[in-house]
């Protein structure tokens, strides 16, 4: 075995998986995991750990794995992470832990994500569950949103003995993990539901179908229902549109709508009762994970798919693996291209997109080179569906119905970096609701930090 290269991970054949919703990556088996674990240099000063937003003791868990001690490895990871089976699958490892791996300087980095996933999946198969706290302190905390930040915050508080209830607006817990990220990347029953069950096993109650700000307000939770503190992990759910002509046409969807129909409502299944449009030719606008997920969902539902992105390949914000998988599956990329108008047929249904070529100019505020249109370079792409994956922003439902919650100009809640406390005493926040659309691991980390903040806050009031 070439020590410079990762132990390859088994995947479904691209031609086969383009037609099903089963998980693309099959993960390591025991042998493969042990071989990959051997590649770790066990650095004294582990840069990988610094690259991890929640500072998982990476050499530590890999050491346990080498000793064939999966429960031990799981314990090490659990000190820092609540959702390892999820993060092992969806973290942008190439810019975090694996991006810093010393192995990566002259060869390929250790496959830390795949090892994390192996540990989490194997621990679950072995029936290892987190244990509820032995004593309860009788204090009540309300957590708003059952996405990664809310689940992480609730778990930590429950472990500390708090009586925690999570409220979620949807009928199912999980946040983006349930409604956004597709089955072929993050299996629902086998991974997401299992992680949620683990949170329940800690004694956390999850009440779905409750929209904070509509069904009940934060003030009522604190004044009437006896909650001593509140954590807001309501995510960044509002989709953006381009505001170009034709965007209201039939056949134009936000990625959120398209993915929610497919994932949350199971519309990808033959027997589903919620409809989804089965496009013949779909154009997906955007270059992030959401765009890749929408494109690959449309592909699996039978469409010929083109991704249109206004910058170049280097700037694609999606995980490298997703871009690679999308290409393998036959998705076309029109890079340095921007839609200008959506055209419709006589029935008002999308018939094509008029695009213009772009070139990269001077760097903009984000430090990335700004795309500028090339005059006269317009061209048409025929299609019968357009899916907009242009990013999302926080929903104002909670901030607008709660006094004393300051927000930034972009709609994110203002918090104290140290402990997640908002401008309103006793109310904490974290995840996409604060940062705008970011990542699972950052949301989870913010949820954990706020759990510590809440614990300190409530103890200081004793």
């Amino acid at each position: 075995m070439d020590g410079m290269k990762k132990v390859p991970v088994r995947e479904q054949d691209p031609k086969v998986r383009a037609h099903n919703f089963d998980e693309v990556c099959l993960g390591y088996n025991r042998e493969e995991a042990m071989a990959e674990a051997e590649r770790c240099l066990q650095c004294k000063n582990p840069l990988c750990q610094q690259g991890c937003p929640v500072s998982i003791n990476i050499p530590g868990f890999i050491r346990k794995l080498r000793e064939d001690d999966v429960p031990g490895a799981y314990e090490v990871i659990s000190e820092s992470s609540t959702l390892p089976a999820v993060c092992g699958r969806v973290c942008p490892q190439e810019t975090q832990c694996e991006g810093r791996c010393v192995r990566g300087i002259r060869g390929e980095a250790v496959s830390i994500g795949k090892l994390e996933r192996y540990v989490a999946d194997t621990a679950a198969e072995m029936g290892i569950h987190p244990q509820p706290a032995k004593t309860r302190n009788g204090k009540k905390v309300a957590v708003i949103g059952a996405g990664p930040s809310g689940l992480a915050c609730a778990s930590d508080l429950a472990r500390l003995g708090y009586d925690v209830t999570i409220f979620d607006a949807l009928h199912k817990a999980g946040g983006v993990l349930s409604y956004g990220i597709p089955e072929f990347r993050l299996p629902k029953e086998r991974v997401v539901d299992r992680e949620i069950d683990n949170v329940r096993a800690l004694g956390v109650r999850i009440e779905t179908d409750v929209i904070i700000g509509k069904s009940v307000t934060i003030d009522e939770l604190m004044d009437r229902e006896g909650y001593d503190a509140v954590f807001i992990g309501s995510g960044a759910g509002l989709p953006k549109f381009m505001h170009i002509p034709g965007e209201q046409a039939m056949g134009v969807f936000s990625a959120n709508e398209y993915l929610t129909r497919s994932n949350l409502m199971h519309a990808y299944r033959e027997d589903a009762r919620t409809p989804i449009y089965h496009a013949k030719k779909a154009v997906v606008v955007g270059g992030g994970n959401v765009a890749m997920d929408a494109a690959r969902t449309a592909l699996r539902l039978g469409a010929d798919v083109t991704i249109v992105y206004r910058r170049s390949e280097a700037e694609l914000p999606a995980r490298k693996e997703e871009v690679h998988h999308a290409k393998e599956e036959g998705i076309r990329f029109e890079l340095l291209t921007n839609p200008e108008e959506i055209l419709t047929d006589e029935n008002g249904w999308v018939s094509g997109v008029r695009c213009i070529r772009m070139e990269l100019g001077e760097p903009d505020a984000s430090g990335r080179r700004r795309p500028v249109p090339i005059e006269g370079s317009e061209f048409m792409i025929d299609c019968d569906a357009v899916i907009m994956a242009l990013g999302t922003s926080p929903n104002p439902l909670i901030s607008s119905t709660t006094d004393g919650l300051a927000t930034t100009t972009k709609g994110g809640l203002v918090v104290n970096e140290e402990n997640g406390e908002t401008t309103r005493p006793g109310v904490f926040a974290g995840g996409d609701a604060v940062t705008g659309a970011a990542t699972v691991i950052l949301a989870m980390g913010a949820g954990r930090k706020a759990a510590r903040g809440i614990d300190e806050y409530l103890r200081s009031r004793d």
Binding site: S215, V216, P239, H243, T274, N395, L397
Partner: protein, 292 residues
């Protein structure tokens, strides 16, 4: 939770259910809606709230089975439960923000079409409780599908009926009735219209001609109902609005009804196909020759 405490038929094909949903009932205001799911695999169905009882923690819904999912709802019996009821969603009617003294001075007209009568009832009942009796034109195709006549009488100033076939009240649709009232010298300061989109479209055209500012309640396609998906978007005065969070009530003169109706049909073929497949098995091929 979400138990059906009462179920009754209001007409041959319109049902009313009283459902236990304390969190929804506690905050429900006229004009708002909720979303239900019959069972674990059910579609999310938005329905306007037609009444609430804050003490008992119940809400009332009225619906007419049209497709697969509402047909399934109609099969539920008293004592059964919905898998989910979430709400209240959207904004309350703007009338609830008007000071009562002002409301009492206003001449208000409601126009209700078909099942739209039920949400209109919720608003009229609320107004009646404030000592405001508005007028209402209640329209239906025929007398036997007019619903809630008795309840409506109790909370309305003047209740006019309009039936397409002339079997009750004014012969003709709600627009014919409105024009007739206008010609008789009746004047109104504000109108609220709830019913099928096509009816709301023509009603708004007429009120614009007659100069009566009008609010219409938009029952667009929806998925989440919280502003997350954009399925419910429509054009109001040339601007994109989300019916679930910006509405459901909008300035009827400014709504692009044609486009809204088009978008409402977006899944008709897909839904219809699913429904047929379920009812009749794989029948959707062979025979007509159209697809060849």
């Amino acid at each position: 939770m979400f138990k059906i405490l009462k179920k009754e038929k209001l007409s041959a094909n319109i049902y009313r259910m009283v459902v236990e949903a304390p969190r929804v009932a506690a905050h429900a205001m006229p004009g708002q809606f909720l979303i239900v799911r019959t069972d674990a695999e059910g579609e999310r169905i938005p329905l306007t709230i037609c009444d609430d009882d804050k003490e008992k923690g119940t809400v009332t819904i009225v619906f007419q089975p049209v497709g697969g999912e509402t047909a399934r709802m109609a099969l539920l019996k008293e004592g059964d439960s919905f898998a989910d009821v979430v709400g209240p969603l959207g904004n309350p009617s703007e009338l609830v923000h008007v000071p009562v003294e002002e409301l009492r001075k206003m001449k208000l007209l409601f126009i209700a079409g078909g099942v739209g009568t039920a949400p209109v009832y919720h608003q009229l009942k609320w107004l009646h409780a404030q000592g405001v009796d508005a007028d209402c034109i209640q329209g239906a195709r025929s007398r036997d599908i007019l619903i809630l006549e008795k309840e409506m009488q109790e909370v309305t100033g003047h209740l006019y009926f309009a039936t397409d076939d002339g079997s009750y009240g004014i012969h003709g649709n709600v627009c014919v009735a409105l024009q007739q009232l206008y010609d008789e010298g009746k004047r109104y300061d504000h109108c609220v219209v709830i019913g099928p989109m096509i009816m709301m479209k023509f009603a708004c055209q007429l009120t614009k001609k007659l100069g009566i500012p009008t609010t219409a309640s938009m029952n667009t396609l929806m998925v989440d109902g919280t502003g997350m998906c954009g399925a419910c978007r429509l054009l109001v005065g040339g601007e994109v609005k989300f019916a679930c969070v910006d509405g459901p009530e909008f300035d009827g003169w400014k709504i692009d009804f044609d486009q809204a109706m088009q978008r409402a049909r977006m899944y008709k073929t897909e839904e219809g196909r699913l429904y047929l497949e379920e009812k009749e098995g794989e029948t959707h091929h062979g025979g007509c020759g159209l697809c060849q």
